[in-house]
Amino acid sequence: MKKAYKTMTDEELYRAMADDNAYGRHCFDEIYLRHSSKVYTYCKKVLGDSDLADDLFQETFIKFFNSSKSGREMTNVGAFIFKIARNLCLNEKQRKHHTFVPLDELNMPYYDDLSDSKEREQFLQTALDALPRKYREMLILKEYLGLTYNEIADMLETTMATVRIRIYRAKTKLRELLVPYLEQ
């Protein structure tokens, strides 16, 4: 008898996804339910471009689904999906040569207050876009996706100390931009 997919681990779901039937489809749905929000947030925040983020998010999950047919063993499905998303985002950034505005040249939009979630979101995105990529990505992984330093280090193939320092620097730079609002 097949196991209820709600109780299955990501890795069990990934193996079952290879089945070309409704059960495999259910397993994919379950993984999508568990990870889509985080991956989508990552794409949105890293790219900042809504349509492009949508396309890359879509491509991420299609690649992920197709990978299940290869029969490979999976130890961390969440990290694997992020890795796909990250590679796609980096490729896209390199391909389009996204312009980077240094912090000291950045004109932050002014808001009376940030109680409105939409304005706050836009404001944060502008501030994040101003951060160097190596800082921005780690801050996104930490603050939006709630990953631990260890998980971020694994995903970005670096050390925990590097993660800790870069996140601290990212926060410091962001704090400089946000000070007027943080005191409200």
Partner: protein
């Protein structure tokens, strides 16, 4: 846990707020915080900044998932990334539904039910004598043979219904509806085939499970209707208890549903008792997975019955509206949710159980509409089949109807 090398208390504070500092590492920082107003100010700002990020996780729109499924070849038109209209998606989902095992299971259930019905009624349908030519209207008669001293005004109804009439001509005598029973005489003498009337057996058996049905009622109910002389009615065979067991207690649901159905045969009799719980069913289901569920169901409804038997040397047809309490086991197959129709979940169910007079089966097809994670409404079409015997002969009642109700999952 970290490697413990921090360039400043500020960096240590950042790690603390990220939940990455151990208790050992935190102690000196708390001491520093207590004595350093600048660090306190920094902590307030970092906390405020952290608060800005909270609740900003983004849910991808539904059409993106649809595009992914199509792109991954899980949709009908693989490769297309154009969001589809609701109508075309509906037909795609319907197409997929026709290819599922569940559909073939449901189809097999319906075909089996129809084949069984046909087999059980084969003789009556195809080997019956010439059908009666009596008019389908009720009329009064003056020469009806009422027993003994009573001579009530009775209605004689000619019924053309070859399925249930094994002899050439029958006259149905229907007493007023309140009596909940009718009988019929005909004037064709037939040799008795049943033993003599045993009053004790008769009363104890309560034929057809109807507690309102007693021979003496006809004489003493004040309605002045006929007595059935020397009637022998075979005791009912109690239906065996039907139970299902579930091994786990993970996902359960309660369903309370109401139903309304047309009956074959149809008898023109109102039930004597009409309890509040009539036409209601309550089921408890265990979901092995989202597709398969087993459970038990109890319910109560009126079942119209018509059956023939021997009354002394005469053949008589009885009709009654039996108030049945039924219970049994249930299997339900749920199909995949149809996303473009509000995530409704089509399902098919098979119920096997019994009443006091015989086994009872139901099959239905419908859908659930989830209103929340725990609550859904359901609606569907239902077919019921009650099998019973009378004096060694087989009879059945079939019902077709609709059902609707509330589903609570827990």
């Amino acid at each position: 846990m970290n490697d413990g090398t921090y360039s400043s208390p500020s960096e240590q504070l950042s790690a603390l707020l990220d939940g990455e500092l151990s208790a050992t590492e935190s102690s000196p920082l708390f001491y520093e915080l207590a004595n350093n107003p600048e660090l306190q100010e920094e902590m307030h700002q970092m906390l405020a900044m952290k608060k800005l990020f909270q609740g900003t996780s983004i849910i991808p729109p539904d059409n993106l998932k649809h595009r992914i499924l199509l792109g991954a070849g899980l949709g009908i038109t693989a490769g297309s990334v154009i969001p589809q209209s609701t109508i075309s998606s509906f037909f795609q989902n319907a197409g997929q539904f026709l290819q599922t095992h569940g559909f073939y299971m449901a189809l097999s259930g319906v075909v089996t039910g129809l084949a069984t019905t046909l087999a059980l009624n084969w003789n009556a349908l195809f080997n019956a004598p010439e059908k009666a030519t009596a008019p389908l209207i009720a009329q009064k008669t003056e020469n009806f043979q009422t027993p003994e001293q009573q001579k009530p005004e009775v209605i004689i109804k000619y019924i053309e219904k070859k399925v249930f009439i094994p002899v050439e001509k029958k006259i149905f005598v229907q007493v007023p509806a309140e009596a909940n029973i009718a009988s019929k005489e005909d004037n064709i003498p037939i040799e008795p085939v049943q033993p003599a009337f045993d009053k004790q057996l008769y009363l104890a058996s309560k034929p057809i499970g109807n507690k309102n049905y007693f021979a003496n009622d006809f004489a003493n109910n004040g309605l002045g209707h006929m007595i059935l002389p020397n009637t022998q009615i075979a005791p009912r065979v109690p239906n065996k208890a039907f139970r299902t067991q579930t091994e786990d207690k993970n996902k359960f649901s309660f369903t309370l549903r109401q139903f309304a159905a047309a009956s074959i045969p149809t008898v023109d009799l109102k039930p004597i008792s009409e309890p509040t719980l009539n036409n209601l069913a309550l089921s408890l289901m265990y979901f092995i997975n989202p597709n398969h569920a087993f459970g038990i169901e109890i319910g109560q409804e009126n079942i119209e019955q018509q059956f023939t038997g021997m009354d002394g040397n005469k053949e008589i047809t009885w009709t009654q509206n039996y108030l049945a309490f039924w219970t049994g086991g249930l299997y339900q197959f749920s199909f995949d949710p149809i996303e473009n129709l509000g995530d409704i979940i089509p399902f098919t169910k098979i119920f096997l159980g019994g009443t006091r007079v015989g086994p009872y089966a139901k099959t239905s097809f419908g859908f659930r509409l989830p209103l929340s994670e725990n609550v859904a409404i359901m609606s569907g079409l239902e077919y019921s089949y009650l099998y019973y015997q009378f004096q060694g002969k087989n009879f059945n009642t079939q019902k077709f109807g609709a059902t609707y109700g509330l589903v609570i999952k827990f």
